[in-house]
Assembly symmetry: C2
Homo-oligomer: 625 residues x 2
Amino acid sequence: MSENRPGPVVDTSASRHARLRPVAPRDVRITDDFWAPRLRRNREVTIPAQHAQCETTGALRNFQRAAGSVGGDFSGRYYSDSDVYKWIEAASWSLATDPSPELTDRLDSVIKLVAGAQDDDGYLNTYFSVDRVGERWTDLVVRHEMYCIGHLVAAAVAHVRATGQTALLDVALRACTHIAERFAPGEVPGTCGHPGLEMALVELYRTTGDERWLTLAAWQLDSRGAGVLDGSEYLIDHEPVRKQSRVTGHAVRALYLYAGMADVVLETGDEELRTALEQLWADLSGGKTAVTGGVGARWDGEAFGDAYELPDRAYNETCAAIAHIFLAWRMLLLTGEPEYRDVVETALHNGVLPGLSQSGTEFFYQNPLADAGRHRREEWFSCACCPPNIARLLASLPGYLYTTSDEGLWVQLYIGNEADLRLADGTPVHVDLATELPWEGTVRLTVTPEAPTEFTLFLPVPGWAGADVSVKVNGEPVTVATDAARVALPRTWAPGDTVELTFGTEVRALAAHPRVAAAHHRVALARGPLVYCVEQADQGDTPVADIRLTGAEPWTAEHRPELLGGVTTLTAEASALGADDGPLYRPFHNGPVAVAKAQVTAIPYYAWANREPGAMRVFIPLAAR
Amino acid sequence: MSENRPGPVVDTSASRHARLRPVAPRDVRITDDFWAPRLRRNREVTIPAQHAQCETTGALRNFQRAAGSVGGDFSGRYYSDSDVYKWIEAASWSLATDPSPELTDRLDSVIKLVAGAQDDDGYLNTYFSVDRVGERWTDLVVRHEMYCIGHLVAAAVAHVRATGQTALLDVALRACTHIAERFAPGEVPGTCGHPGLEMALVELYRTTGDERWLTLAAWQLDSRGAGVLDGSEYLIDHEPVRKQSRVTGHAVRALYLYAGMADVVLETGDEELRTALEQLWADLSGGKTAVTGGVGARWDGEAFGDAYELPDRAYNETCAAIAHIFLAWRMLLLTGEPEYRDVVETALHNGVLPGLSQSGTEFFYQNPLADAGRHRREEWFSCACCPPNIARLLASLPGYLYTTSDEGLWVQLYIGNEADLRLADGTPVHVDLATELPWEGTVRLTVTPEAPTEFTLFLPVPGWAGADVSVKVNGEPVTVATDAARVALPRTWAPGDTVELTFGTEVRALAAHPRVAAAHHRVALARGPLVYCVEQADQGDTPVADIRLTGAEPWTAEHRPELLGGVTTLTAEASALGADDGPLYRPFHNGPVAVAKAQVTAIPYYAWANREPGAMRVFIPLAAR
């Protein structure tokens, strides 16, 4: 565990069962043309705008009210405290990489508000203050008291690791002490309708070294399935977590819960929990994940659907894609398996990024894979979980680029950056990674250890590149196995050694498993890490709904710096149906359908709905053959 | 208008702009093997069970509480009165065709409870009684005060027309007088977040001849789009109804509203309203109706989707299919156009009937077109709109079989029956209609006017029969135009004249409009008026999800009296995919997919989920070619 020094987002540096250890966001400076402007916008636009929203909605004022310094009614939902905590987390990680006296001042005053609202007994939830004190802990099913404390703890840990300051950590420790006494491990079952506290508690254990928080996290997990939450499948209380193998219920809740399970396994090595996690992951990745990495197909209940239920109008909550990243990241740290890295990359680019407008001020809550043109981003929501969740993830993104292990250094995300890292033995290594990804597939690394040092550099071969990869070390080609998902380069690395990787960025027409009825006889386009879509604004007079592909079109990729903040578009001569005035249902005719040639242009899915409203589609029908 | 004598469900006998006039349920005795047992079960099982539910849930007790005869809290939802009113309507129509002293007693005592709960000023809603009197009429958007009165009026009208008794009508008149004073036409805009009162008011006008109820109905329509309901599109308040052309918002609300519009047009001939109705119908039938006649695709908000948004997991609320029938029936009465009749037939067999279990005691609220096996009927719902809606529709079904006009007699639904009808000039005609529909396509009518009488017999050619129809009058073939949707037989009909119609019942593989992405490269099976599905219970080891068709399979129809209450199954040698352990997303290969032969059996969609839980699908993928 760390001694309150700047640290990583998920700190497995002392986790006995972790294969990998992330690096601190502060040690990585993202420098590329794609993510660096987005992180800047997050700092300069999104984080200030979200602070303003916390003021406008009364979420900040609720803390003053709980402290007794203002009167009036509580504002917002019973979990609105979590908006503020997520903002604190976002601001903290932002300060880790980009110090700002102004933001520091603002953050400190928000933390003061939070601290001021805490009761003497450690309890903290502004909804259950003033006029609702008597209702505390009376409804674990619906109210989100532990969930909110989970975000408080996550914020406090981020604040410590980003700034070294412990003011909020002290608040979080008092709140967790209150919970540990009220729902004592082994004595009083206690767990929340909305998980989230579990992973935060493990992180608190990692930060403080106090095992009671790990014990409490494990107790919260094992309190599930005992009826505390009415045995609700929706709340993932239908059976003990260690017996679960089917991903179900509310998507964000389920994946926050499983991320917490993974955290406990990283610390304890609990084999039963680990087996459950592997089965749950197989269920999730095998039939319940959208091509974008979005998860949670159903609008009713923001929930997982059945296996292969992956409709066009998927719900795919932005928070669920973030939860997907949280789970995949922990599974990656546990196993080192590259499939988890691929999920982080896919969900980041195609599940989370669409949640944010080009302006940085509007957000999607849901991310459907097709739309008629009425789904638009909004500035805020009455349930405002997604916007600050995006902000905190982006602010912490530098912490997701590398991991280390006893064997050496692992690149995880190919995002251009300069990093000052330390190997397991403490050797400092400067890394300079330059790439035009997600647009072009070349990556150039310069590795500069303090002195020549023997270690292995692990470089993932993304799933999207397949076998189309070449690697050179100091200009000399290296042979890569055709099915390798990772290149391991053991070597005595000398200052200035270079690695050049080139991944194929051919346009891929992706089909889904044949049981995905909603993708039957259709393809989705992808290039590099990006999933594409067709949006009406690019199709001229051809209605998006009438576009038909063969699946074998030769696509032309063209980078257009002026479009949508700079995107590579894909264009092909495809085809389109003519007008059809026939009835809605008609006898099937087993023959070719008349189509006309049509120029079709696809844009990255993340960029849709930033222009005039119009139809959009990811999975495009194939023409009848 | 009638003089409180037994009458039809929708009484257009004096409607100046009606082309057709329905007959009274009491005059038609359904005698076939398909519907007659269902109506008996409705009387003997469903209606008593629903009375028991109204007792168990406290819905009946709420009336005693409002009358002051019992204490305690209100039970259920703020619209639970409507459960009781729909039960009264169901019981009334049941008594119209099948007198029962026991049911009459029970009905009379329920009506006494209702009457006892009415305030001196005519107000009646048990939720807003005792402790909520001060909240009356404070929230037209959310609370359903007018909606509940609409069901009261519909029940009262049914009670009068079925039994001639006016006890409940007096209650309804007092309640409507209260509303007419509180929201006076031309003075105080008033309309309800949940429509329904509009069509009831027109029926009240038809029953009493008092024009103020027609005026009030029209005023409620024109109060929409004026901001009374916050301009909500979901509540169909976004623009004046006479300007609307796009079906949107909550499906049941929208179609109840439009049915009320049609009622007003039937009386007033309002051309602007009529044009709006035609445009709305075109939008509904052209892109927002499931192949089953179900409507309202979205689970979020029980709402219409965008055009062609017709997914597998459609919401298709049972009540929405009933509302669809209400609207189509009124459009049929207005225009005589056979397309509306087809919708009544389709929605009845495939949109409403699936809502009811084989036992008559369990109900579907949603009717998805595919399921993994977890969607099951339930005995009741906290929002219990659907069960008594099914019961009242079934009880009134005899009233949907015929209409008359100045030209003669129109058969509308081919359901076996004996009827004693009167032509426009009052001539009594006995009709005996025998058919094995929906299983076999032959229909035999015997027409017995009191004496030889000249009139036209109008016989629809259902959309499902297409050109495959033959007609004989007294054994002599009659030539039918190949595209006729109706056969008109002008003749001097003599007692005992016979007509024999034979409609083709070839199995139809139906494709959807190419813009229906969710049905792309798939077909639905239909035979006669029934839409079919494949359910796992019939497929042996072949998973439903793996079934593939060519669309040109020769299907074998076999009637199986022992199965599901007696159904005709469809069987064919089709094909099935093999196991696929590949990833969820993979490169598209433009070639044939390996399939193996598989015997596939389809059952009528209405019959699914009456056996062990298992996957079900209506639109079946076509094999790659």
